[in-house]
Symmetry: C2
């Protein structure tokens, strides 16, 4: 026989693929996020991964466009989606007449960006997004609810020590306007680096783009205002900046903070931070970032904000919204790297391994069927071989319980349920086994 | 102000996108399939949607290769996966040393095929696959378990009247061998059409490829054997065909049937059908097709079978397996077209709409938080306006309950829980509301 030709099995760099035990942990996180989003009444959405380039790239230019996977098939110019926001804008515009507003949707799915691969950055990754889209107007209470979703999500993921940083772009923009600063975008970009490069460097950069010493100092002083949420609001009011947008921003921020209390979000889990600006012109009101305090180097694990107009590329209707996104693939990867996720050995949903003997196969299948009918994941070991090898299979997969179905067991109806972690065996009938596994 | 330029929002033909109420039904089906697969101990897997063309297309030629979305990004020759089987073969070969065998995995995800779009065929669609992969050998009991999974899945999806058709390729191949028929593939292809074109036409086609009258008659007589599973097996044995593969096939089929009983699959839900052949050379043993008896025109809704060697393109290791696939997008579409899914009006996960008055916003948020903490999906109506409009929002989304949080309610702690379907109102405290919603 000729030697078989094989292609070396491999995947592309920058693509995530997990082994079973890791996949179980990843899926658990995804499921937790999904469940939390649904508890807040967000509607699941699913859009095509491939869209028309002309539609998907209606706005994008520069860096984004370069990263997009774009190709032709037949006469069609196609692109893989690079986020879930553009498809949402397209969806809401396209189906406007068939949707009920405010439209609250969540979308968990893969997006694609042909970035240079680097540690912790992926070319294909999961985003978990929620957005609330209003028609013409949208109450600011929604901004507080979004913060409550962030809180509930990270609590449900098992975190306690995290801070949701809160700001409002109107405060920033109004303040800059009052100083007569024209290039707000540039100033915002510099402020955004406060944490990274420090106050002195920020001052220098501000002056380098033409701010006077006085204005640069005011900006740094302004973003340096610290304290409790209410203290910060008081301090902002005390600046007596005469600018309507500035005042509006403070009012909105105060409203959001008042409602957060009613949502029972503990005051230790959020803070006003005037240094966060979230990019350039997309956001127009409330903005969020979320920091795991024990792992600050991970950066923001959940960000978003309020925008005036979701879909101006697809409709003349005004659709204001507020939303957030969790980059799950990156978050998972970084938590695993940081050792936060622990070492899970469970590499299967199975709760029990049922081990038949040759002559008891039928009874073992019946047992498995009963256990499964009770909603418990059960696996049967069909291979023949030594009993040790069978238990070792349960052990390798991290299946918590195993039971041997021998002739004695079949005759008496009493089975030895082995706890694989402790080695303890309990003698139980089928009903008790089911109760034990459910507990 | 200049007139705003907008791009008409639309998606490509052949791509499925659902409105919220439909998406809820689709997700429910997906969740049911996933849960059933997990109950049988299948491990979740997720592989990249983009792979190296050289790896993904190691074997494929002809029609498949033409349908693949293949493109370049930088120096890379990439392709979107067109099924979940090739990625499984690649995954198992690549991670062989880190997996435990038999390896049972499920994979639910989108695949891509640039087919000519036609009614009910999609270019991007969900497949829901399970496979059990052995190393070197794999017990035939697994083939019975797979049939049990099919049964449990369609039961869980709400079907009663369906038939899982069962056959074994060794019986077919052995029988043809005994007649000295060389071109088995061609004969299989013709037999596969029995249901569509009828016995006379099949006879003609068989003769047209060179079978003698006698052999063509034998073939038709053979695939025409009908009866209960055991009768068919008896009739097959009575043919006294002297061919080892034929006998082996009958033994395997009998074994599978014996075990199906132990899995408690009702005899009305499966049948041996010697006319099913499932394509050409991939399958080597047991094969399955599943028919919804009230909607036979939909064709097989779940198919699969046993194969000798999963991954010969990627490894010299022998990896026999057995698996099935449900094409969920197509199944969903066809069930909806057939009117099987009914008209679901529920377009949100929310179980209750909480309606605050202006002065009770905080109390409404607190109520929502309590309900959500009990795991119940709740939504708050933040927009101001007439009460009728608020109830109409609940109605449009199909939210089953609504409650107004007025000052009286806040003072007494007793709320009127309105059943949106009947209009009935029950006066309940928060605890009772939660109990009612959980029930």
């Amino acid at each position: 026989m000729a030697k078989q030709q094989v292609v070396t099995p491999s995947i592309l760099p920058g693509f995530m693929e997990l082994l079973p035990a890791d996949q179980m942990v990843f899926n658990q996180m995804l499921e937790t996020i999904k469940k939390t989003y649904e508890t807040y009444g967000f509607i699941p959405l699913d859009t095509p991964m491939i869209e028309k380039s002309e539609v998907l790239l209606a706005k994008s230019g520069g860096e984004t466009a370069k990263q997009v996977y774009r190709f032709n098939k037949g006469d069609n110019d196609l692109a893989l989606r690079f986020d879930l926001t553009v498809p949402l804008a397209r969806y809401v515009s396209q189906h406007f007449g068939e949707l009920t507003f405010p439209f609250k949707r969540y979308h968990i799915g893969k997006v694609f960006r042909g970035e240079k691969p680097q540690k912790g950055r992926f070319r294909e990754f999961y985003q978990c997004d929620i957005d609330i889209i209003g028609f013409e107007s949208l109450s600011v209470v929604n901004d507080a609810e979004i913060l409550s979703v962030i809180y509930s999500t990270f609590k449900a993921l098992g975190f306690d020590d995290f801070t949701i940083r809160l700001n409002n772009r109107k405060i920033l923009n109004g303040f800059f306007e009052s100083l007569g600063i024209a290039d707000k975008a540039e100033v915002l970009r510099i402020i955004d680096k406060m944490e990274k490069i420090g106050q002195a460097a920020v001052l220098d950069e501000l002056k380098s783009i033409g701010l006077s010493d006085g204005d640069a100092g005011s900006v740094v002083k302004f973003v340096g205002i610290k304290g409790s949420c209410r203290e910060i609001i008081e301090n902002l009011r005390r600046l007596e900046v005469s600018n309507d947008m500035f005042s509006e921003g403070i009012d909105e921020l105060e409203l959001v903070i008042n409602y957060i209390d009613a949502f029972k979000v503990p005051s230790g889990n959020y803070a006003v931070d005037l240094t966060i600006a979230r990019g350039l012109d997309y956001y127009t009101g409330t903005i969020y970032e979320t920091i795991l305090n024990q792992y600050p180097s991970i950066g923001s694990v959940c960000s978003g904000g309020r925008y005036d107009n979701l879909a101006q590329n697809y409709t003349t209707k005004k659709l204001p919204g507020v939303g957030i996104s969790i980059g799950l693939s990156r978050l998972y990867y970084q938590l695993r790297e940081a050792g936060v996720l622990g070492e899970s050995r469970k590499a299967t949903p199975s709760q029990i391994l049922i081990i038949p003997m040759k002559e008891t196969m039928s009874q073992a299948l019946e047992l498995a069927t009963k256990v499964r009918e009770a909603g418990i994941a059960a696996e049967i070991y069909f291979n023949e071989g030594k009993i040790g090898k069978k238990f070792s299979y349960a052990d390798k997969l991290g299946i918590p319980y195993a039971v041997v179905v021998g002739e004695d067991e079949v005759n008496t109806g009493i089975y030895k349920l082995k706890n694989m972690a402790t080695g303890d065996q309990a003698e139980l009938d089928i009903q008790r086994i089911i109760e034990q596994l459910k507990a």
